[in-house]
């Protein structure tokens, strides 16, 4: 997910999420659908990681091999929301908010290497981008 040093604080994860989102929007405009697809998902993943630190479930991001590293070094956004202790609120809000409900159905399907031999359709990437943005808004409010 990160080429350089892995973020360690909430601010760094939030900044990374914003960077991925901006990059995804940019590469989608130039037709790089596969990269855009990956980046939109990474943006949501980074926002979920920021939430874990914001809620002080962890105070510093663990490096590989350190305690709790196994639980949070994952691309699974669902697992990260659960680990942040926000899953119950998330389920309730999804029942009340159709847009959040539908956005989640799209984002949860993401995994970075899902489309290995053929890029996803443009409309599918656009849909993921919109859904990821809405989910990130929700994550940022928690």
């Amino acid at each position: 997910m990160t080429n350089g040093r892995e973020p360690r604080s909430e601010a760094e994860w939030t900044a990374l999420s914003q960077r991925f989102m901006a990059e995804a929007d940019r590469v989608l405009r130039t037709g790089e659908r596969q990269i855009a697809y990956e980046r939109y998902g990474y943006a949501a993943e980074a926002a979920a990681k920021a939430l874990i630190l914001r809620r002080r479930v962890l105070t510093i991001w663990p490096r590989a091999g350190q305690p709790h590293a196994d639980e949070v070094h994952t691309h699974s956004i669902q697992k990260l929301i659960k680990y942040a202790g926000a899953y119950q609120a998330f389920c309730l809000d999804r029942q009340m908010n159709q847009r959040l409900h539908d956005s989640w159905l799209v984002v949860k399907e993401w995994w970075p290497d899902r489309y290995t031999d053929k890029p996803p359709e443009h409309t599918a990437v656009v849909l993921l981008g919109r859904a990821a943005k809405y989910l990130i808004e929700w994550l940022d409010r928690q």
């Binding site: 196994d70 639980e71 070094h73 994952t74 691309h75 699974s76 669902q78 697992k79 539908d102 159905l105 799209v106 949860k108 399907e109 995994w111 970075p112 290497d113 899902r114 489309y115 290995t116 031999d117 053929k118 849909l127």
Partner: protein, 154 residues
């Protein structure tokens, strides 16, 4: 996090889910548990051409409607279900190599062209039907769910 095999309970829950969708005639071309290494988790995929015809969200909502009325297995809640299109590389490649119909086939370290599957349990993998057939199945499914809703409200 190290790899953990799929539990017997989850395996059975997947089978039960497929049986329910068949009972209501959704038109399911694939039902597969796949271990996704980058997510470090098992995912249960329902593969249906309705994903291409109606879109992901509408297909989910359709299944969720039935689940809320009839599926009560804590081993598999709606959040644990994922949807795939028969045209998607992973399912298309698997369906071209194996034809599985109402069975349970375990795959381990399978490599087909560029596709590598570490672990999977396949209940069904078949090719997509013509669109007209998929639409007819959807119509039947909607009718049967509506009937179930009416019964539930009595």
């Amino acid at each position: 996090m190290k790899y953990e095999p799929l539990s017997h309970e989850k395996l059975e829950a997947g089978r039960e889910c497929l049986a329910l969708l068949d009972e209501f005639e959704l038109g399911v071309q694939g039902a597969v548990w796949v271990y996704v290494p980058s997510m470090m988790e098992w995912r249960f995929y329902i593969v249906t051409s309705l994903v291409d015809i109606d879109g992901l969200v509408e297909t989910y909502n359709r299944i969720e409607r039935l689940f809320s009325l009839k599926f009560r297995n804590p081993e598999l809640v709606i959040d644990d279900i994922y949807l795939g299109s028969p045209d998607e590389a992973v399912f298309r490649t698997l369906a071209s190599a194996f034809h599985v119909q109402n069975s349970s086939v375990e795959l381990r370290d399978v490599q087909i062209n560029n596709l590598k599957i570490e672990h999977a349990h396949v209940y069904r993998l078949t090719k997509a039907p013509p669109v007209i057939v998929a639409k007819q199945a959807r119509q039947k499914f909607d009718g049967r769910v509506k009937q179930l809703e009416r019964t539930a409200h009595i």
